[in-house]
């Protein structure tokens, strides 16, 4: 078990290193932010001076290893825009995004799991078809459009929900709905089809042959088995949720990392983009690792070290 964990962690570290290389060079292809940071009338000499002061005039490889050396010690550099440590800025925003993501994931699961179970149990029925159609609808909305429509409806027209910001549970509802729509659709569909497949499996036939109650077959025999492929997708959805948060946070002016990232990209605030991407990558890699580990809990065949 420990061996397995260590090798997975080493791999994760390698992936993170790859991510850091990718993001570092990618955002620098377009040049540095000196001209953007200074006001429009700043003369060229001024920009050059600033560039030298920031060290942007050095070869990229040198800058990368400088970055890597510092990053390994936890120093991701100073944000150009905020003049504060980049990682600190990102970490400050993480709780907000996690809260939003968790709320969205919770919504997804609360809706999709019972819906999928019902649809699979009544495969071919009206409920089943309705669930398919609903998840299809959920997959077909552009998130930002849904967000605008919700604001128009619930904030402007009915004045039921505050359209932006963070702090109260009401402010969490609309962004979470927008964020949850796609994952709910995906998870419902996937769990439904896995359930249907499992319900046709030999061991479910065995259980029926024993005379086990249908409800027990669905909730006990089928659900846990169907959860295994679904879990992978839920793991991937976490990444998608974090990605989707970028747009959602922007529309609802929600102070999370996604919004920080968008602005950092627009402002060429390298250090913040780097800190953000590396942190997100670490989060995604960790979640996938946890998903891998949890397979063992669900599926005894995958338990290691026995």
């Amino acid at each position: 078990m420990a061996d397995f964990l260590i090798s997975r962690l080493l791999y994760a570290a390698a992936v993170l290193l790859g991510v850091s290389v990718a993001v570092f060079f990618l955002i620098r292809i377009g040049g540095d932010p000196s001209a953007l940071f200074l006001p429009p009338e700043a003369p060229v000499e001024e920009i050059e001076r600033f560039r030298r002061l920031m060290g942007f005039d050095r070869p990229l490889a040198v800058q990368y290893f400088d970055f890597l050396g510092r990053a390994l010690q936890g120093d991701f550099g100073m944000s150009l825009r905020y003049d504060q440590p980049a990682m600190k800025l990102v970490l400050e925003r993480v709780p907000a995004t996690l809260q939003l993501g968790a709320m969205a994931l919770l919504m997804s699961l609360v809706i999709s799991i019972p819906l999928a179970i019902l649809a699979a149990a009544k495969h071919g029925s009206a409920i089943d078809r309705a669930s398919l159609l609903a998840s299809l609808l959920g997959q077909s909305f552009p998130a930002f459009w849904l967000a605008i429509m919700l604001i128009l409806l619930f904030s402007e027209t009915f004045r039921l929900l505050p359209p932006s910001g963070r702090g109260t549970w009401q402010q969490l509802i609309m962004p979470a709905i927008v964020l949850a729509t796609y994952s709910t659709a995906i998870i419902t569909r996937l769990l439904r089809s896995s359930m249907i497949e499992v319900l046709q499996s030999d061991y479910v036939r065995t259980a029926r042959g024993k005379g086990v109650k249908e409800s027990r077959i669905i909730l006990s025999h089928a659900l846990r088995n169907a959860a295994i492929p679904t879990l992978t997708v839920i793991g991937l959805q976490v990444g998608a949720l974090l990605g989707g948060a970028v747009i959602t946070e922007e529309v609802f002016a929600y102070p999370g990392v996604g919004r920080l990232a968008i602005q950092a990209i627009a402002n060429r605030d390298f250090t913040v983009v780097q800190a953000f991407v590396v942190l997100m990558a670490a989060l995604i890699v960790t979640i996938n690792l946890l998903v891998d580990l949890s397979y063992g809990l669900l599926d005894p065949r995958l338990r290691k070290g026995k």
Partner: protein, 615 residues
């Protein structure tokens, strides 16, 4: 044949049947229309009786069992007719009551022990569930009863294995669990749907004996579904023969075997290889072929002497070793190795068939793959027509492999579904630049004819052919490069008996005309007896006995060989009361810790070219 004949119980027996099926018709919804797969089937199962339904794939025998259990998918299936269990009309029962009939009234053992147990629950939990799900037993009592059942089906060390998961059990052990589960609620009727098909022959024997023993102990009736006439002969009191969804014949087992009336029954029986039928016969012999329409049968012909022992062998294997390292942990250290092939040596002459026999996991397939270098062996020497296979580089290997070709087990997986059969057969010809496209066409046409197919099928795709036809196509493809040796890896095992006989005959025809050498890998002893000149028995990666076919079959020396021979079910109802031990002995494992070297083996020559490993 009228239904009346089928329903009549044995004369003088006035007891009520346990199961009575009348006019059963089961249809499936296919692309919007109902297509019947079982048609107007009627039969009875009497108390304490074993009724076998026998038929080849697609005959509707499994659908029959699932119809009786009402386990078919609702919505896409339709069951008509009457099914009475102990007098109750099952088709009229509401779902809730039917649930209680399943398990208590009748129980079922399925074909696939590997997938029929829920992988995420322990064996104990699944047994306990079978005991408690009808609400008659508490958890503690159920646990005790489950352990008793595990003992009853002879699962060794039941208490310790109670909390293990299915994947920690072998196939045979899982099937014992399935049987224990079926026995849980003491059903009147046990339906066993091909319960031994997926198992090795020695395990099959154990399971059959277990079912017989338990039937005697519990006094239940058994509805046994199988395609194997050998198994039928061993277990059934009466037989129903099914063909394309209909019962074509039924009657007591003896009558069916010795006095089968329907041509299909006779075709089925004539195609069944009978172990021991080749006594005093030195050369391979073709199978008799029965025409199902007319019932006429052709006399089998012996294969002419093809073996050329004068020149050097076309294939020489010396001390071949193939191990699969199991890796784990940090830096993927080697933790141990599966000793799949251990110190295997033999030779194969032109025109000769050498059979490699043994049970699953014994290393016979890996031996075939190591010789062709589909798997890289660790040690040893493989000489193909004087060329050392193991010394070859990639390019030279491609050339040398023209001499040695393979035919695989699964005819459905052996052909690229996206390639016409013509293209598949021509591909090696063109790839090796042996001629123009026109020449390739001619070659393909010629080969198709040789394997008994029309050259017109060239443009068709594999899914348009039956399993037997596909295997013929595979044989044609293997012949494209004019090989000297063909490694036939379980090439006929997946085929229905009647088809199996034809393909075997084809192989023998080709050997006669093309002087081919076969390395015939099979677990099917009866086929091996017919087709081979020499036989090598493998066990745990090693050859334990090798010699001329007649010598090995008629005078087996190694204990393992004897056990193997004894386990083969023979289609001879007169032998059915010979019982083997129902005790379980599981196969030993060929997995050893890293660094393990097996002891030196010594072989003793017990007859002319007949060698036995000294224990």
């Amino acid at each position: 044949m009228s239904n009346q004949d089928l329903q009549t119980p044995p004369a003088g027996d006035t007891t009520q049947p346990v199961l009575s099926v009348r006019g059963l018709t089961t249809s499936f919804l296919v692309d919007g229309s109902w297509r019947p797969v079982v048609n107007n089937l009627s039969f009875d199962v009497m108390p304490g009786e074993t009724l076998a339904i026998v038929g080849e794939s697609g005959s509707g025998k499994s659908v029959t069992s699932l119809s009786i259990m009402r386990l078919l998918q609702k919505g896409s299936s339709r069951i008509e007719g009457e099914i009475r269990l102990g007098g109750r009309d099952l088709l009229a029962l509401p779902d809730g009551e039917m649930r209680h009939v399943r398990g208590r009234g009748m129980a079922m053992v399925f074909q696939e022990p590997m997938t029929s147990l829920n992988p995420i629950f322990t064996i104990g939990e699944q047994l306990v569930e079978a005991l408690t799900c009808h609400g008659e037993m508490g958890a503690e009592a159920a646990r005790k009863e489950a352990l008793r059942l595990m003992d009853k089906v002879r699962i060794p060390n039941a208490r310790a294995r109670f909390d293990e998961y299915p994947h920690q059990f072998s196939g045979g052990m899982r099937q014992r669990v399935m049987i224990a589960m079926a026995l849980a609620a003491k059903p009147d009727l046990l339906i066993a749907d091909e319960p031994t098909t997926a198992l090795d022959v020695t395990i099959q024997g154990q399971i059959l004996d277990l079912i017989k023993t338990l039937q005697a102990e519990e006094g239940m009736s058994v509805l046994f579904i199988t395609h194997d006439m050998g198994v039928v002969a061993e277990i059934a009191d009466r037989v129903v023969v099914m063909y394309r969804g209909e019962a074509v014949e039924s009657g007591p087992t003896q009558d069916i075997f010795y006095d089968g009336k329907h041509p299909y029954t006779r075709a089925l029986l004539s195609a069944v290889p009978r172990l021991g039928s080749m006594k005093e016969q030195a050369l391979p012999k073709r199978f008799p072929v029965v025409d199902i329409a007319t019932g006429k049968s052709t006399e089998p012909a012996t294969v002419a002497g093809t073996v050329v022992r004068s020149s050097r062998p076309v294939l020489e294997v010396r001390n071949l070793v193939t191990r699969f390292r199991t890796r784990g942990g940090l830096l993927r250290r080697s933790e141990g190795a599966v000793h799949a092939v251990e110190n295997v040596s033999f030779e194969l002459f032109q025109g000769e068939t050498l059979a490699l026999v043994g049970e699953s996991g014994c290393g016979k397939s890996t031996t075939g793959r190591s010789i062709t270098r589909l798997v890289e062996p660790d040690r040893g020497k493989v000489m193909v027509d004087g060329v050392d296979m193991r010394s070859l580089g990639k390019r030279a290997l491609r050339q040398t492999r023209r001499n040695i070709q393979m035919i695989f087990q699964d005819p459905f997986a052996s052909l690229n579904p996206r390639m016409t059969v013509g293209a598949a057969i021509a591909e090696p010809f063109l790839e090796h630049r042996l001629g123009t496209r026109a020449e390739a066409r001619d070659k393909v046409a010629d080969l198709l004819q040789r394997v008994g197919l029309s050259p017109d099928v060239m443009g068709r795709y594999p899914h348009e052919f039956s399993g037997g036809q596909r295997q013929r196509i595979c044989i044609a493809r293997a012949l494209t490069l004019d090989p000297k040796i063909i490694v036939a890896d379980e090439s006929v095992s997946a085929l229905d008996v009647s088809i199996k006989a034809q393909v075997c005959n084809l192989l023998m025809d080709l050997q006669e005309s093309l002087r081919l050498s076969y390395l015939f890998i099979s677990h099917d002893m009866a086929v091996v007896e017919r087709i081979s000149h020499r036989v090598a028995v493998m066990h745990l990666g090693e050859i334990v006995e090798i010699g001329p076919r007649a010598a090995v079959f008629e005078n087996p020396q190694h204990p393992y060989t004897r056990k193997l021979m004894a386990a083969v079910p023979v289609p001879d109802p007169s032998r059915r009361f010979i019982s083997r031990s129902a005790e379980a002995d599981e196969l030993k494992s060929p997995v050893h810790p890293a660094g393990y070297e097996p002891p030196e083996r010594i072989y003793r020559e017990v007859g002319d070219g007949h060698f036995v490993q000294v224990e």
